[in-house]
Structure formats: C-alpha cells, structure tokens
C-alpha cells in the first residue's frame, strides 16, 4: 500500500500492516525533517505532490519490489503539507521470511520513491527565504 498523508504518519499502525504469519523479520526506514540541507539552516519544509500520479507511481514501485525480492508485505507513506524539524516525512516498511530480502526491498522502495514519485520539497531557511530543492 502506498499513500500520501496530510496528517502525521502513524508508524505503529503501518507496522501492524506489515505483520504476517509468513514473515520472520521486518525492516523499516523513517525519513525525518532535519535542520540543515546543502549548507543552509532549515526551519521547516513543505511537500507538494501530484496526488493521482504519486499514488499510481508509488503502487508501481511497491509491485516492482514484490517482484524483485522475496518479501511478504511492503508499505510506504509520504507526508504532504507543512512539516517541522523532526517530523516524519516518509515511512517505508517491509516484512519478509528472511532479513536479506527485507533490507534490500526497503532500500529499493525508498530510492525509487525519492527519484520517481512526483513529490517536491520546498524548504524554508533561517534567513527568511524559501526555495524548491532538487534531488541531491
């Protein structure tokens, strides 16, 4: 399941979606808003998405992960709207029978979501300015 969320991400409920009798392990990645980026001091940021395409591209990435790796469940949620320092921006969780597939699939999903899902980050800086950030 891939979703965008206007509300704070509830990691506990997403983790439960990954639980399965076939799973022997679970790998999770949480992306948080940090207070600096590319040499600038960040006060907060806003994520904008193209919702219809973000959803379809996100689901496509999860389907690819299920094909490439021997996993049981894969879930990803990305925040949109205004976020403060420390807020969770993205959550990826993967359960699998064995750890290797879970680690690899989690990494794959995160990397692909960052580069392919139409979501854009606008940072606000301590100098009062703000601007769109391109992928590093």
């Amino acid at each position: 399941m891939f979703a965008l969320s206007q509300q704070p991400i509830n990691a506990q409920s997403l983790r439960q979606q990954c639980q399965d009798p076939q799973a022997g392990g679970f790998v999770c990645f949480e992306g948080w808003v940090r207070d600096h980026n590319q040499g600038k001091s960040v006060t907060r940021l806003a994520y904008e998405a193209y919702p219809a395409l973000a959803k379809s591209e996100g689901e496509r990435i999860l389907a690819e992960a299920r094909q490439r790796f021997d996993i049981v469940q894969a879930v990803c949620v990305h925040r949109v709207g205004m976020l403060d320092i420390g807020d969770m921006a993205v959550w990826v969780g993967v359960s699998a029978a064995h750890r290797d597939a879970a680690f690899k699939a989690c990494r794959y999903i995160l990397d692909e979501v960052k580069s392919r899902v139409p979501i854009w980050k606008n940072e606000s800086w301590t100098d009062g300015e703000s601007g769109w950030v391109e992928q590093e």
């Binding site: 992306g31 994520y47 904008e48 998405a49 193209y50 219809a52 395409l53 990305h78 921006a89 993205v90 995160l110 979501v113 960052k114 580069s115 392919r116 899902v117 139409p118 979501i119 854009w120 980050k121 606008n122 601007g131 769109w132 950030v133 391109e134 992928q135």
Partner: protein, 100 residues
C-alpha cells in the same frame, strides 16, 4: 534528449488546462491556467509557455527552463513530448521529484 519541436502553424486553436508543479510554478509565474493554443504537442506547448515567460521576465534564462529534466503529463498520465494534444486536455509539467 531535447525534444524535436515541430511547427504549430496552421493548426486550429484548442483550449487546454495547464498545471505546473514545484519550481516550475515560480519560474513561469502561475500554478494553473486555461489557455487557447495552437500547440499540438506538449513540446510545442512548453516552448510557447517558455517563450512568453522569457519575454516578460528578462532575468530568466532559457537554460533554466530546458525541457530535458521536465516530464509532461496529459490527463494524469505520464506523456511523451510529441504526444498529440486534444481539446480539453489537462496538461501538467513536472520538474524532477525531490521527495523523501
């Protein structure tokens, strides 16, 4: 690869909706617009939008709006630069993603 731009001359005008995302909103100065255009492809439409903006905004350089990193979308589906536009289409232009 830079898309090939064919001439839009002699093509009848059609009404389209244009949506911009991320930095493109700031660079082109609008978010959402309905316009009459003779453009028949996203490449022609993009060229038209950029030419208008460069006329109005002398500080902007064409290189900042080069299509190489931009993806066109027609009616919520990723499109090719040379796809055909039809009356009433919703066309969006997306800069590179920066989620995560």
């Amino acid at each position: 690869m830079r898309p090939e731009i064919k001439s839009a001359q002699d093509s009848p005008a059609r009404q389209l909706t244009v949506e911009l995302y991320g930095r493109l909103k700031d660079q082109l100065g609008f978010v959402h617009s309905t316009r009459q255009t003779t453009a028949t492809t996203p490449a022609q439409l993009w060229q038209e939008l950029v030419a208008e903006r460069l006329q109005q905004h002398k500080g902007l350089e064409a290189a900042q709006l080069a299509p190489e990193s931009i993806r066109p979308v027609i009616n919520d589906t990723f499109a090719a630069w040379d796809d055909t536009l039809t009356e009433g289409d919703r066309v969006a232009f997306l800069p590179p993603s920066s989620g995560g």
